[in-house]
């Protein structure tokens, strides 16, 4: 009956969206008034009701202040109704024309309801009364000290009636020459004394202001003396400086060497490092800057008393060469230094040393030869360059990337039998001619920095030439990417990890959201298609998010594929949309409609027979809000006695039930998707005669007028839930737990809640923004750098199975892998109840560590998992007999136990496998048949897969 929405005045939303949203405002505002600051998300709402509405132009009113309320319907300001303030005079008063005057003190509770009674119906608006700073009471501003030295700082505070103020604006009168002040009130004095030397600081809040005067004074002129431990130092030697002030060591100043690095360098702690050559002039000045003064001390730089004059031979042409160093000042115990590293040295006399230079590669390099005095007495000698000269080679490509590589090497004197290696690992080498070699092999994708490409003759035993070749830098490291693949996909599938490595986290998320949801074919098992998608497809983030969502929006397994696959596809689609759409879709889902008896639920026709409350309760309890009120950081709200506060009461369950009556299954459309008479591909449709058309009241405050259609009531009900302040932290915590960590900090939850409330463009419920916020949060990424930053989460059985399948890039040989989840206690799409497989509030028994997935762990499941993993690795597990282990990326590229352990360390453990685990694996493999390397590799793989430190995505 109300086809056109009302027009709105004085509203901040744009006209284009007003028509759709404004009818929702009347009940939305209650949410804003509960202290969540949820705001109003215009483009996310939909309601086509043309009912009267009270315009919400403010969300707070100060004590004693007034606010004009207006009721409109379809653009017309209503008159003739009656305004009242619920709760009477202590909550303020309102005139017949809607002018509200707030009480002079903040009422308790501070949320106030204004009601407009119009044609027998009540319409309401909610806001919060907040304290007004007592009018006229002065703001006083004070510095910690009244006088500030040039370049000094002073913390200012603003007070009103003995209460500190925040949120105001600080400024320095007269601009930068009088200093500057930051938002917290920290004043920084200018570098010179201004004229006049008194500056004024102002604090402005809510139209009132206060000022303080500060006097800028010179830096106290106490004398600082700088002393050096030694008045002179040899080149490359060190000397400790100290600055003294009135008998104490001065602090806070800065050390400098006048004239720059050629005169030496100095640390922040005053340790002077002499230059490697005597400068000119040979005396340098070291300074200590305190305030505007600099205090100097001269240091004489002396030549080393140890001098190297010559090295023989002058060029190295083999990897191990005896050299003789000639010079003066050598003593027994003096060592020849090669690039500052002492080598084994023989003392001949005070002007001769001999020693051996051993090179690890035939690289053309220049070595610095010095003589290092024994102990730490004196400084090393001057350096003489010693060149290593080997046949030079060129390598193409000039920059290498991880993965399969083909090197073209040009040089000279190559001969058959030469072997090319990279960092010690031999490549398949083809000598094309004396000047050309082609070598192919595999560069592990976690290789970073540079590698040494070496050509060795004599079947690889005699290095001939080498070149250092840089590695192409990737957007993120392999290790960080493999860790991310556990959070955002189904584990470190090698191709996925390398894709993330190239695209970076954000780029990969963007790519994934461009991928479609899985399309399920009726000709194969739905579950097989899901597993196949995870193990070989590229809609990974969608599948992963769908799996996360269905941990608390739990579908009903029906033993008929379409009943599950359409639900799966809906979640995979909606995970990149708006949560408001998801709410509509789950409420229209035939799967949930059947599971929780929403379909065919009927209005009461007899007071002794009431509609079924199942869906309404779980919609709030499980799918969106949770039973207790939350703060934005996910912590529970409590009353004065510490009691939890319920999110909804039974009357809200009953009225939401009534609002959601009148839905049924449509006539089948796709016969192939029909089972038990239900077409599982089709959303529920209305059955208006069974809808309860009476008025409803949700959360004690949101009024649903009578005679709305089933669709109107559903839309209003879902708007209320969508805008409830519990939804952001409730959803944030659950999704963080599924993707990143079981124990997020309150700050992490709050940051994600904030993005749910507003994606940065004013949109509430933008799921792609929420997913980005979760996966890219510093807390999620900290573990990339600091392995023990968080506990992560225990992989639940489905993720555990898909992790193995991903690591081994197998899709299974048939449908048998579908049945593994069930024996491990988690059968995809087939949770035992609507509460899913585990409770989100599960703690590890006897601890305060949250670990929902731990609820599926017990003494039996832990050993069963090991047995399953071993059977899979051995290819003796049903469904895993397709010989995929030898064909896997790991087994193709890592063919020795050390290489495999290294690979497992990076792929499974992102570089953090414990030394004990590596040792246990290596030691056990060493006891096995040395001629069956394949078996040893399988054992290594199994032990690494099986460990608890791999079961947990850390």
């Amino acid at each position: 009956m109300h086809a056109v929405g009302p027009r709105v005045e004085n509203c901040s939303v744009s006209y284009v969206v007003r028509r759709r949203v404004i009818a929702a405002l009347a009940f939305l505002v209650v949410l804003a008034a509960t202290g969540c600051g949820s705001g109003i998300a215009p483009v996310s709402l939909s309601s086509s009701s043309g009912l009267p509405v009270i315009l919400q132009t403010v969300q707070t009113v100060q004590t004693g202040a007034t606010n004009q309320f207006t009721a409109v319907q379809q653009g017309t300001v209503l008159t003739g109704g009656a305004w009242s303030v619920v709760g009477g005079g202590t909550n303020g008063t309102i005139t017949a024309s809607g002018m509200y005057t707030a009480p002079t003190t903040v009422p308790s509770p501070s949320t106030v309801t204004v009601q407009y009674l119009y044609t027998g119906q009540s319409y309401m608006v909610y806001f919060t009364v907040v304290a007004t700073p007592a009018p006229g009471s002065p703001i006083t501003v004070q510095g910690a000290t009244p006088a500030v030295a040039v370049l000094g700082t002073d913390q200012l505070t603003a007070m009103q009636q003995n209460a500190p103020l925040t949120g105001g604006q600080w400024s320095v009168i007269g601009g930068a020459s009088n200093g500057s002040i930051d938002a917290s009130g920290l004043y920084s004095a200018p570098s010179s004394i201004p004229n006049p030397n008194t500056v004024t600081i102002e604090y402005i809040l809510g139209g009132q202001s206060g000022t303080a005067s500060l006097t800028i004074v010179p830096i106290a002129t106490t004398t600082i003396t700088v002393q050096a431990a030694q008045p002179s130092v040899e080149i490359s030697g060190t000397d400790q400086m100290v600055a003294m002030q009135q008998g104490n060591q001065a602090t806070g100043g800065t050390w400098v060497v006048i004239g720059g690095a050629s005169n030496g360098t100095i640390t922040a702690l005053g340790l002077f490092q002499a230059p490697s050559a005597v400068p000119a002039p040979s005396t340098v000045q070291v300074g200590y800057i305190a305030g505007t003064q600099i205090y100097l001390v001269p240091i004489a730089i002396l030549p080393s008393s140890v001098i190297v004059q010559a090295v023989a031979p002058s060029v190295l042409t083999s990897l191990s060469t005896n050299i003789t160093v000639t010079g003066i000042g050598f003593t027994p115990g003096s060592a020849i230094g090669v690039n500052a590293v002492p080598v084994r040295t023989t003392y001949v006399d005070s002007s001769h040393l001999s020693g051996t230079v051993v090179l690890s590669n035939p690289l053309n390099v220049s070595l610095d030869i010095t003589v290092i005095p024994p102990g730490s007495i004196g400084s090393p000698s001057n350096a003489i360059a010693l060149l290593a000269r080997f046949p030079s080679i060129q390598v193409l490509p000039a920059i290498l990337s991880g993965g399969p590589i083909t090197l073209s090497i040009s040089g000279s004197q190559f001969s058959t039998g030469d072997v090319v290696s990279i960092s010690g690992a031999p490549l398949v080498t083809t000598v094309n001619s004396a000047s050309s070699i082609t070598a192919t092999g595999f560069l592990p994708p976690w290789t970073a920095g540079s590698v040494i490409v070496q050509v060795a003759g004599g079947d690889g035993l005699q290095p001939i030439a080498a070149l250092s070749v840089p590695i192409q830098q990737t957007a993120v490291t392999f290790d960080a990417a493999s860790r991310f693949a556990n959070q955002a996909a189904f584990g470190p599938r090698p191709d996925v990890v390398m894709n993330i490595q190239q695209l970076g986290f954000d780029g990969w998320i963007t790519q994934q959201f461009q991928q479609p949801a899985l399309s399920f074919s009726l000709s194969a098992s739905g579950m097989t298609q899901f597993l196949h998608g995870a193990a070989a497809g590229n809609s990974l983030l969608r599948q992963r998010l769908s799996f996360a969502l269905q941990s608390f929006i739990v579908p009903h397994g029906q033993n008929f594929d379409p009943s599950s696959t359409f639900f799966e596809r809906m979640l995979e689609t909606d995970c990149s949309g708006n949560f408001r759409q998801l709410l509509t879709d789950i409420t229209a889902s035939p799967n949930l409609g059947d599971y929780l008896n929403l379909a065919n639920n009927s209005a009461s026709v007899n007071t002794l027979v009431q509609p079924n409350q199942n869906f309404a309760r779980e919609l709030m309890q499980l799918f969106s809000l949770g039973p207790f009120l939350l703060n934005d950081d996910g912590s529970f709200q409590t009353d004065g006695q510490g009691n939890l506060l319920p999110t909804y009461d039974q009357s809200t369950v009953i009225d939401l039930t009534r609002a959601l009556t009148g839905w049924t299954y449509p006539s089948p459309v796709n016969q192939a998707d029909v089972a038990w008479g239900i077409d599982w591909s089709q959303p529920l449709t209305t059955f208006e005669a069974r809808h309860d058309h009476n008025a409803k009241l949700l959360f004690g405050t949101v009024f649903f007028p009578p005679n709305q259609t089933a669709t109107q009531d559903r839309s209003m009900a879902l708007d209320v839930i969508f805008n409830h302040p519990n939804l952001p932290p409730f959803l944030a915590r659950l999704l963080i737990q599924r993707l990143v960590t079981s124990n997020p900090t309150p700050g992490y939850i709050q940051r994600v809640s904030t993005v749910f409330k507003d994606n940065g463009s004013g949109v509430r419920g933008d799921m792609t923004a929420v997913v980005r916020a979760i996966l890219l949060d510093p807390e999620a990424r900290l573990g990339d750098t600091y392995p023990s930053a968080s506990d992560g989460f225990l992989k639940e059985p489905v993720l555990w199975q898909l992790h193995i399948m991903s690591v081994l890039n197998t899709v299974g040989s048939d449908d048998q892998p579908n049945y593994l989840g069930s024996s491990l206690g988690e059968a995809l799409w087939n949770a035992p109840t609507v509460f899913g497989f585990f409770s989100p509030s599960t703690m590890i028994p006897g601890t305060t560590v949250s670990s929902p997935e731990f609820g599926l762990m017990n003494n039996l499941s832990t050993s069963l998992k090991s047995q399953v993993a071993w059977a899979i690795v051995k290819s003796s597990m049903a469904g895993f007999t397709n010989n995929y282990v030898p064909n896997s990326w790991l087994f193709q590229h890592f063919t020795t136990v050390p290489a495999m352990v290294d690979a497992l360390n990076h792929v499974l453990y992102h570089g953090n496998m414990s030394q004990q685990e590596m040792t246990a694996i290596t030691d056990y493999c060493a006891t096995l048949n040395p001629f069956d390397v394949q078996y040893q590799l399988k054992v290594a793989l199994f032990l690494a897969l099986d460990a608890e430190s791999n079961d947990v995505s850390q």
Partner: protein
């Protein structure tokens, strides 16, 4: 390697008690909220008429009920048609029904509840909160321990070489103690294959190292594995020992859970336990729609499993030393809904079997079936409990031999009830 928590020199002494002083409790939680209004049915003409009017489509014909012996003049009751074994135990004095019991922190009246919302258990009518409140014997929605776990904390010295607490699969708060955790005796199945000699040592070495991990989840999971490896042999030995039982347990998960529990009890001398606590879950009673058939099938499974367990206890001569009781999330509304189901309610009826109790009686008071009356919280037939869970479970704690100070610590709300625990 550190000794498991429960290992104690006293277990040697406890061995002597295994036969004479053995006591065990088996808790069966009826998952999803069993409609107790159709488990215990009033049969006197006036009450039955009231019952039938309120239940409409859910009413069970009076002729189908299993009639319970009424002790001379008391109101007569029947049990659900499926509960044939339980009715027979009742009528032979080996079972009792506790009437209208539910989570309560203190005795309350409807007007007090109306005036003070904090007297209502947290998140009343919620499944997880309801189960948690029953299994923790509290009114908290998110308790950290259960009453089984808290009793087990006190029985560690009497449980021999394994913890005193066993579950037969399924998560619960019941088995979480402050220091003792349950071990599972059945549950997940699946293919298994033996590990090569030597590899188990490598696995244990890695788990022992992971047990020291800074990562608390890794450390806990690895500790569980190390413990599991140590316990497996012992559990298998216990389950294989004792005189083989002739009782045939039903197929299906509940019957097999009862079988597993019976085999542990039968092997108690291998473990050296004189106190044991067992936990099982049964059914999926959340009958929001099409209730009659669903509840009938689950109560049938329950009845057959309990019958087998009672028979096995008889075989072992432990019929008076092992007590079985039921819990459930909540009762369901007396009123039926429009799709022939019922919704979440509060005060419920529960079964107690075995244990040498004084059976054949209704313990407590059957609610007055007055819709909107003094016993009905919200006009749907949501009975305000007249007995608290702690009065029922505290009685079982006493039966298990807890000293009165221990009963007070395990069941802290009991002190609020002047009547104390129910008499078994």
């Amino acid at each position: 390697m550190t000794a498991p928590l429960w290992q104690d020199a006293l277990c040697v002494k406890a061995f002597a008690d295994v036969t004479n002083g053995y006591r065990a409790v088996i808790l069966v939680t009826l998952g999803g909220g069993n409609d107790a209004n159709n488990m215990l049915i009033p049969l006197s003409a006036a009450s039955y008429a009231q019952y039938a009017a309120l239940r409409s489509s859910l009413a069970i014909p009076i002729s189908a009920c299993n009639v319970l012996n009424s002790g001379g003049g008391a109101q007569s009751f029947g049990l659900h048609p499926a509960l044939r074994n339980v009715s027979s135990f009742y009528n032979s004095g080996r079972a009792a029904v506790v009437a209208n019991v539910g989570p309560l922190a203190r005795p309350v009246t409807k007007s007090q509840l109306r005036a003070n919302a904090s007297l209502v258990p947290q998140a009343l009518l919620s499944h997880p909160a309801g189960v948690n409140q029953w299994e923790s014997s509290s009114t908290e929605a998110l308790p950290s321990t259960g009453w089984g776990g808290r009793m087990a904390d006190l029985f560690v010295s009497q449980s021999g070489t394994l913890p005193p607490l066993f579950d037969s699969g399924g998560q619960s708060i019941f088995t979480v103690g402050r220091s003792v955790q349950a071990i599972s005796v059945s549950g997940v199945g699946g293919q298994t294959s033996a590990f090569p000699t030597g590899m188990q040592d490598a696995m244990l070495a890695i788990a022992s190292s992971d047990r020291q991990s800074q990562n608390r989840i890794v450390a806990a999971a690895a500790a569980l594995r190390v413990q599991s490896i140590q316990q497996q042999t012992l559990i298998a030995q216990a389950q294989a020992s004792g005189v083989p039982l002739n009782t045939v347990f039903p197929n299906g998960s509940f019957g097999q859970a009862m079988r597993s529990i019976a085999s542990i009890i039968n092997g108690r001398s291998v473990i050296g336990a004189s106190r044991q606590i067992f936990y099982a879950q049964q059914g999926s009673y959340d009958t929001h729609a099409a209730q009659l058939a669903v509840q009938n099938s689950y109560l049938t499974e329950l009845d057959l499993g309990l019958g087998a367990m009672m028979s096995a206890l008889q075989e072992m001569g432990l019929q008076d030393q092992v007590l079985i009781c039921t819990h459930s999330d909540f009762n369901r509304t007396m009123l039926a809904n429009t799709v022939a189901g019922s919704d979440h309610a509060w005060g419920s009826h529960q079964l107690i079997l075995g244990g040498g109790i004084s059976g054949g009686r209704i313990i407590g008071t059957y609610p007055d079936l007055d819709l909107g009356g003094a016993m009905d919280l919200n006009g749907y037939g949501t009975w305000i409990p007249s007995l608290s869970v702690s009065q029922m479970t505290g009685a079982i704690g006493t039966w298990m031999g807890l000293a009165s100070s221990q009963v007070s610590s395990v069941f802290p709300d009991l002190g609020n009830f002047p009547d104390g625990v129910i008499a078994l």
